[in-house]
């Protein structure tokens, strides 16, 4: 067992005080490794909170550079970062927040090619992407690699999130397959209230920390949905689909698929 340094005891004192966490829980956090896919609207708050919490290793994968239109919600990037790879920009901020955190950056897209290799190193995965094809890819890869992950999606004033751990419902149990390309707008096309990204991202971060420390009940077999216009939160029960194409006993899908991306400017994707 590692023991906390004096400065760590101080930094994480508000965690340690929590009866459920304590020094041992904080040590778990410090030893954990979380992969954040997408350093955008959702990835930004997740990265900030997980960094502050002292997650030992944060992997961040994103193939984009910071664009002026990102700044309205992707709070980890600052005006001066425009043009900088998002992973680089995020890494710089994280290191300022908490030198305890080791940041590993992947300046590339998450694809069927690299998915399994990258996932292998992490304990928990955050889906911070905003388009269906990648969400399905993340789901499939995590189910196959038996990695728990938090799904998250935001659009306009709405958000939804679900946590998958092996044995519980996966994203495909709920949504069988991605909608046809262009059938659903991405948030870059439809617009999104910036603060929504924060609301949902912090829920995802909390789920990650709960998973790491083993505290409380995860959003497994439940999907939480909120409508920020009415400020209405609800959770709907979801069931593991015994015929799910990916997580059932006899899955149809046994290799990863890159679905066609929604047609939009890649540069302005998130």
């Amino acid at each position: 067992m590692m023991s906390l340094r004096e400065d760590q005891i101080e930094r994480y004192s508000r965690h340690i005080i929590l009866q459920d966490i304590g020094g041992k829980g904080q040590e778990k956090i410090l030893n954990s490794k979380v992969l954040i896919i997408g350093a955008g609207g959702l990835g930004a708050p997740v990265a900030l909170y997980l960094a502050a919490a002292g997650v030992g290793t944060l992997g961040i994968i994103d193939g984009d550079v910071v664009d002026a239109s990102n700044l309205q919600r992707q709070v980890i990037h600052f005006t001066a970062d425009i043009g900088k790879p998002k992973v680089q920009s995020a890494k710089e901020k994280i290191e300022q927040i908490n030198p305890d955190v080791k940041v590993i950056t992947y300046y590339e897209l998450f694809t069927s090619e690299n998915a399994m290799r990258i996932l292998a190193d992490y304990d928990f995965v955050i889906d911070g992407t905003d388009n269906f094809p990648v969400k399905f890819l993340i789901n499939d890869a995590c189910v196959m690699a038996k990695k728990p992950f938090s799904h998250g999606g935001i659009l306009r004033f709405d958000g939804q999130t679900l946590t998958h751990t092996p044995g519980h419902a996966c994203y495909r149990c709920v949504f069988h397959s991605p909608p046809p390309a262009n059938a659903v707008p991405t948030c870059s096309q439809a617009g999104v209230l910036g603060a929504i990204a924060g609301m949902l991202g912090t829920i995802q971060a909390a789920e990650a920390l709960k998973f790491i420390t083993g505290v409380g009940d995860l959003l497994t077999n439940r999907m939480m949905i909120f409508d920020a216009k009415k400020m209405n939160f609800r959770t709907v029960k979801v069931k593991k689909n015994p015929k799910c194409p990916v997580c059932s006993e006899t899955p149809e899908i046994t290799s990863l698929i890159d679905y066609e991306q929604a047609v939009c400017d890649l540069k302005d994707r998130h």
Partner: protein, 781 residues
């Protein structure tokens, strides 16, 4: 043989322990702070120069015999600076000793029945008496026997050695109250009523940076009650004195806290219990004021102007016909070994009861047969380092050691005293007209130089000009002394640069001497009518200080040939100094912050910011018992004990690191953070009483006995970090194990045990220790 106190065998056996402790310390096996606590109680202080020590020797009633003084001088020559230093509290000191010689000195002292035990520490300090008690024709009655016997009684009582704070006693031989009974913890003033000897009793006075004039505790007691009163006050102090916060631990603060009625009622609870117990009456030793019956010394007859002048200045009639008292003024309180030998050789012939130390750091000789005055004069003229050829005014000046040996010193009063002397003796001022005029100087707000009771007093401060600092003195005036019960301390009138103080003193005295007769020697009236205005106008006259380039001299203090810096100020050696030292740092942080805000630039700005960071880092180290040896260590300790413990925010880590590396220019970029650091430390200090510990208890903190519960010391750690630490400690144990934690009183004891219980552990026991902190025993569940 005449003795001014009896050392008990207990004290002697304690010395053996002390000797072992010294050895352990020399071997590097004892923490210097712990060692300090031990050695200070043995009267052993470290000087400003590291690993150089001074030893303070008790002289009850200011008395020392020629045989004893000769020995002290011998020890001073063998192991120390070669001179005996006379202090403002009627004691003698040996300076510049090395630690491995301390025991040799102490054993040497024991050979002549002297002791350094209680020279410092939280105990009964040297008991003062009027230096001419018993020989002054105006003696009400001799108080020396009381002081001598009271000393012996008190120092032989074990409970005298662990009081909340030092306990100072003084006894005056008449109502002129030359010992300032209202400026001490317990003061007795001799007064005869209806033929019965007795005392007026004052209590709770004290000088220092927060001076208080003592109150009347008992209007009058018969002389049989001297011990009863001291004992009752000691018991009361022992129980009620504030041990947790040394800020307010002296008796004067207890009085302030309780108020007149409560204090007196409390006192009487102790006093009334014992006051009728005649078995406690002091058994007074006989202190005879006479010369030896047979003196085989050939008489030397002196004559001439010099002799006559000396006689008129320094030789006094005694109560005892045919005997004379003689004042021997010392230069800055120092007596050379060879001078001591000359003097003692002569006094050996005269008698044992011939020497008293006075509060002006001079020697008073007594019981000298008139016919041997010539012999004494002859001896004194042979002595190398006295001021006997000068008017008494000069030798009566009092100064503390200041920055020369004291780490708190801002200014150098010894240098100033010399400079004033030089300045005045080059003029034709009639100093013999103002023999009793008291010029007292302290190097900082602590009153070691007794500036509160001065006619004209000075205490050091830092002056500033264009971002440069120069030595400066606050000017005090108008103490009312000389009447028991009517003491008033001097008040601050203005300030003047150190360099100009000699001129200032000269100019002021010239006027006073001139107008003295017109005012019928009523100095207070003079001050009120024109003296204070004169001080102000003179200060105004000297107000304009040249820049460093124009006259660097102003930036050098007297007696030191370099620019004043604050860098060599350090932590207080005397345990007493801690709060005042904190205050000095605090004021400096405030002053510097003000200066920065007003808009310093360049070098001055860098220095100011560094200074703020330095003082902020140092200010409270002493409260954790930390004694940094280097500047870098000050910052390290601060980070370790204040930042990582959560007392001070981590945002200050960077600036303190920059300061530690001496990167003063870098600090300019972090100006706001440096200012915030100063403020943060000051805020912490304001909230300090309950949550910080003031005493290291290294043993308690480190001891992890192999049997019994694990112990952790979380005193001085604020909520909730103390709970965080307790919780972490519990996590390392297995179910059923016990943990004992030490917590401060107040918030910590109110919160931590509850929180621990809420987590499901069992709190088995909560116990409060005498100094207020708590021990909590927890069982892990």
């Amino acid at each position: 043989m005449l003795k001014f106190y009896e050392n008990s065998s207990v004290l002697v056996s304690e010395q053996e322990q002390f000797e072992r402790d010294i050895q352990i310390f020399i071997n590097g096996e004892m923490n210097p702070i712990q060692f300090k606590a031990i050695r200070v109680a043995h009267g052993v202080y470290e000087q400003r120069e590291r690993e150089t020590y001074m030893i303070r020797i008790r002289c009850a009633a200011g008395g020392i015999t020629p045989m004893q003084l000769r020995k002290v001088a011998l020890l001073a020559e063998k192991y120390g600076a070669g001179e005996v230093h006379f202090t403002t509290r009627q004691e003698v000191q040996i300076h510049d000793a090395k630690i491995d010689q301390v025991m040799d000195i102490i054993r040497g002292l024991n050979e002549v029945e002297l002791s350094s035990r209680g020279g410092g520490g939280n105990t009964i300090r040297n008991i003062l008496t009027s230096p001419d008690s018993g020989v002054d024709p105006e003696t009400t009655f001799d108080v020396d026997p009381y002081a001598i016997e009271l000393t012996t009684r008190l120092i032989n009582e074990p409970d005298s050695w662990n009081l909340p704070r030092k306990f100072k006693i003084a006894m005056s031989h008449n109502s002129k109250d030359s010992t300032y009974s209202q400026a001490t913890c317990l003061g007795y003033v001799a007064e005869i009523r209806n033929g019965q000897k007795g005392f007026k009793v004052f209590c709770s006075g004290g000088m220092g940076a927060r001076p208080m004039v003592g109150n009347e505790l008992l209007e009058w007691i018969p002389d049989t009650q001297v011990y009863h009163v001291a004992r009752a006050l000691k018991s009361m102090f022992d129980v009620h004195g504030n041990r947790r916060s040394k800020f307010s631990s002296r008796i004067k603060f207890l009085w302030k806290k309780l108020g007149d009625d409560d204090f007196k009622r409390n006192f009487h609870e102790y006093y009334d219990q014992i006051k009728d117990d005649a078995s406690l009456n002091l058994v007074l030793p006989v202190v005879e004021n006479k010369a030896n019956d047979t003196i085989t010394l050939p008489v030397i007859n002196e004559s001439g102007d010099a002799f006559d002048t000396w006689k008129s200045r320094y030789v006094f009639d005694q109560l005892q016909p045919g005997l004379k008292s003689v004042k021997l003024p010392l230069k800055l309180g120092d007596l050379l070994k060879e001078d001591a030998d000359l003097l003692c050789d002569f006094l050996d012939h005269i008698g044992e009861n011939t020497i008293r130390c006075d509060r002006a750091q001079n020697i008073r000789l007594r019981n000298i047969p008139e016919k041997y005055i010539g012999n004494l004069y002859n001896v004194i003229t042979k002595m190398k380092m006295t001021l006997a050829a000068l008017p008494p005014f000069i030798g009566n000046m009092i100064n503390c050691t200041g920055a020369q040996t004291c780490k708190l010193g801002i200014c150098l009063p010894r240098g100033l005293s010399d400079a004033i002397c030089d300045r005045l003796i080059r003029t034709d001022l009639k100093l013999d007209e103002i023999t009793d005029f008291k010029v007292n100087m302290s190097g900082c707000p602590n009153t070691c130089g007794m500036h509160h009771v001065a006619d004209l007093g000075f205490f050091g401060k830092i002056g500033r000009k264009d971002g440069e600092i120069f030595p400066m003195y606050n000017v005090m005036a108008g103490a009312r002394t000389g009447h028991a019960g009517e003491l008033q301390y001097a008040e601050r009138v203005d300030e003047v640069a150190s360099k100009y103080v000699p001129d200032f003193v000269h100019d002021f005295l010239a006027v006073w001497i001139d107008k003295k007769d017109a005012y019928k020697n009523n100095y207070i009236e003079f001050l009120e009518k024109e003296g204070k205005a004169l001080i102000k106008s003179l200060c105004e006259h000297y107000r304009d200080v040249p820049t460093y380039e124009q006259n660097p001299e102003v930036y050098h203090d007297w007696g030191r040939n370099r620019k004043m810096t604050l860098d060599d100020m350090g932590a207080a050696e005397c345990s007493a100094g801690m709060f005042d030292m904190i205050d000095v740092d605090k004021k400096e942080i405030e002053a510097q912050s003000e200066a920065v805000k007003v808009g310093l630039t360049g070098n001055a700005l860098e220095e100011s910011l560094y200074n703020i960071a330095f003082r902020a880092s140092r200010m409270l180290l002493v409260t954790r018992g930390l004694d940094a040896k280097t500047d870098a260590q000050i910052f390290e300790y601060f980070q370790k004990h204040f930042i990582t413990t959560g007392l001070i925010e981590t945002q200050f880590t960077d600036v303190t690191s920059l300061a530690k590396l001496g990167l003063k220019a870098e600090l300019v970029k972090h100006q706001e953070t440096v200012l915030a650091l100063g403020q943060a430390v000051i805020n912490l200090y304001k909230n300090m009483d309950d949550s910080l510990r003031f005493k290291t208890d290294v043993k308690a903190a480190e001891a992890t006995p192999s049997t019994g519960p694990t112990q952790k010391d979380y005193r001085g750690i604020a909520c909730p970090m103390n709970f965080v630490k307790t919780k972490l400690a519990l996590e390392t144990l297995t179910k059923g194990d016990q943990l004992e934690v030490l917590l401060d009183n107040g918030e910590p004891i109110e919160n931590v045990p509850n929180s621990v219980a809420q987590e499901g552990h069992k709190v088995l026991k909560k116990e409060q220790a005498a100094d207020g902190h708590w021990s909590v025993l927890i069982e892990k569940c």
